[in-house]
Amino acid sequence: MAVEQPQAQAMARAGEQTRIHDIGYRSYDGPRLGRAYARRSLYSQSLRGAYGLGRSAKSKVLPMLLFVVMCVPALIMVAVAVTTKANDLPVDYTRYAVIMQAMISLYVASQAPQSVSRDLRFKTVPLYFSRPIETADYVRAKYAALASALFILTAAPLLVLYVGALLAKLDFTDQTKGFAQGLVSVALLSLLFAGIGLVIAAVTPRRGFGIAAVIAVLTISYGAVSTLQAIADAQTNTEAVPWIGLFSPITLIDGVQTAFLGASSSFPGAVGPGTGEGVVYALVVLGLIAASYGLLMRRYRKVGL
């Protein structure tokens, strides 16, 4: 009786192919570094990606350009301070990010969708979740990466100012204190903006929509808030000015740093929140950061496989 040998044919067929391109399979016995390592790898890949590193030349243009645009005014200020032997820098450390907020918004709008919408659009997310990492790891890595990228963007000009101030032989204690306050402020700003940007971007797999939505949320809220503040100020209703500031991200940061970080408010009439109102500001900022994280977690629990 002829015995069936189903594997014989298959092996013969495989043999024909292996002759072409096989030099033998090597199995892997090395270490598998697991979940924490995978999360760190995703973090560094996303952080590099936020500046276009490891991506196409085209995708480096915008983030690098924005980085340069962020730093150039600081360089000019330093040059002016050094040459004119001024007693102080033209702009406070805490004020710098507020002045440059358009650039920061543009950066968030361009890089937040880049970071998360692509994975959704090209359905790469299931590949991540078929590996040791879990929803929380993905969200934390992405959030931390964008927040770090924003921190680099906003802290670099402050560093330029600080180094310049020291070169101009300005008062060391004053400058160090101001620099530290500025760093705390931009750290908060980075967390807040990254959270808002990612939540919006994670809703849509379309990168274009994501960019438009982030810009809209950041600029419209600021536009509305500053208009209302101006009206309130004009009607000498100065009580209302700080409370209105609670409704846009950049005025929130402005409020927090006015109350706690020795900044002078950029609100109309320079009426910033006092300590009492400042506590509300700080709570709202922290609440928004926590809410962003929570919303991202909820979103990614659904898009699993």
Partner: protein, 330 residues
């Protein structure tokens, strides 16, 4: 490799899996079912990504409910849908995915180069994947599932969208994953025909229920069909016809493989035993023809699952035997 015990998954409106109990051993296993039969749900549960409503499952001896992370470290997954970002090269992408599986950077790069070569991607692996053909994309998807040298891979419809040649290459590759790489495979398909050539074992589910689980040889070895192809010579310009007549003279009926590739040049006959092989050899030798091929053709699994009426009309063979095979399914 995989064991499930009355595994159920119910969604508010549908029951995706209904008390499914199945054991899958090492080797290549086909998971067959129509769209919506519960294949993808099963894979999701086996990866520890979706809790079962009831019942339990183990993969590589690890409980899916509690050891999901450990399972996913040792298992590869190739999704059915597109999952490749177009602006990244295959190398970069697979390296990243290797690191996501926990491979250190150097190992990730080495394994990526190896794996891409094994799946048949060469110079093009440095180009952005947006320009790849469907076949190349499928290879990258397979590479990312194999790059961390898993013990088991889940391949979800790997032949989807491929042309016949690409399909054959992919099936050959799947076979090699087990025979050469030593990695067990669970491959899903809604096409039964593909699996008979590739799998050692086939599990059929429908509506979340187990229809049948058995080895491919059980499905198809009830009768043996022999396919013969011979050369033409100057003496016998139509070798196939001469061969057919000679075999008929020795009392051996043959028929042409209608509709099969190479029809007209191939003679099919039912092997009665080892003497059939001797007979063919002798006839070929007497006629002085060259024997191009003599191979066993199995019946298609599809026949096994045909409705009774259709089966009655199916090719002559051993209907009783096939009925018996289906009888196991119940």
């Amino acid at each position: 490799m995989i064991a499930t015990e009355s595994l159920s998954k119910r969604f508010p409106r549908v029951t995706a899996l209904d008390r499914l109990s199945v054991d899958v051993g090492p080797g290549v296993t086909g998971l067959v079912g129509a769209n919506g039969a519960g294949k993808s749900t099963l894979i999701k549960i086996l990866l520890g990504l979706s809790p079962a409503t009831e019942g339990r499952a183990e993969v590589l001896g690890l409980d899916v409910a509690t050891k999901g992370g450990a399972i996913r470290e040792r298992v590869g997954y190739m999704p059915e849908h597109d999952c490749l970002p177009p602006d990244v090269s295959a190398t970069e992408f697979v390296v990243h995915m290797a690191r996501m599986s926990g491979l250190p950077p150097t190992a990730a790069r080495e394994r990526t180069a190896d794996t891409l070569r094994h799946v048949g991607l060469y110079e093009e692996r440095y180009r952005p994947m947006g320009g790849y053909s469907t076949g190349m994309k499928q290879r990258v998807k397979l590479a990312q599932a194999l790059v961390h040298d898993p013990q088991l891979v889940f391949l979800d419809e790997p032949t989807n969208g491929l042309d016949p040649v690409g399909r054959d290459e992919m099936l050959g590759l799947i076979r090699r994953i087990h025979t050469e790489f030593g990695i067990s495979v669970l491959v899903t398909s809604h096409l039964l025909g593909e699996l008979e050539r590739t799998c050692d074992h086939v599990v059929v589910i429908d509506g979340g229920k187990l229809l049948r689980s058995s080895s491919t040889t059980d499905f198809t070895q009830t009768t043996t069909t022999l396919a013969i192809e011979v050369t033409d010579t100057d003496e016998h310009p139509d070798g196939t016809r001469v061969m057919r007549e000679a075999l008929l003279a020795r009392g051996m009926e043959t028929h042409q493989g209608d509709g099969l590739p190479g029809a007209g040049h191939i003679l099919l006959l039912t092997a009665q035993g080892e003497e059939t092989y001797d007979l063919v050899r002798d006839v070929v030798a007497d006629l002085g023809l060259g024997l191009v091929r003599m191979e066993q053709r199995r019946h298609h699994i599809a026949e096994v699952f045909k409705d009774d009426d259709e089966r009655a009309d199916a090719t002559a063979g051993a209907p009783g035997a096939r009925k018996e095979a289906v009888g196991h399914g119940g």
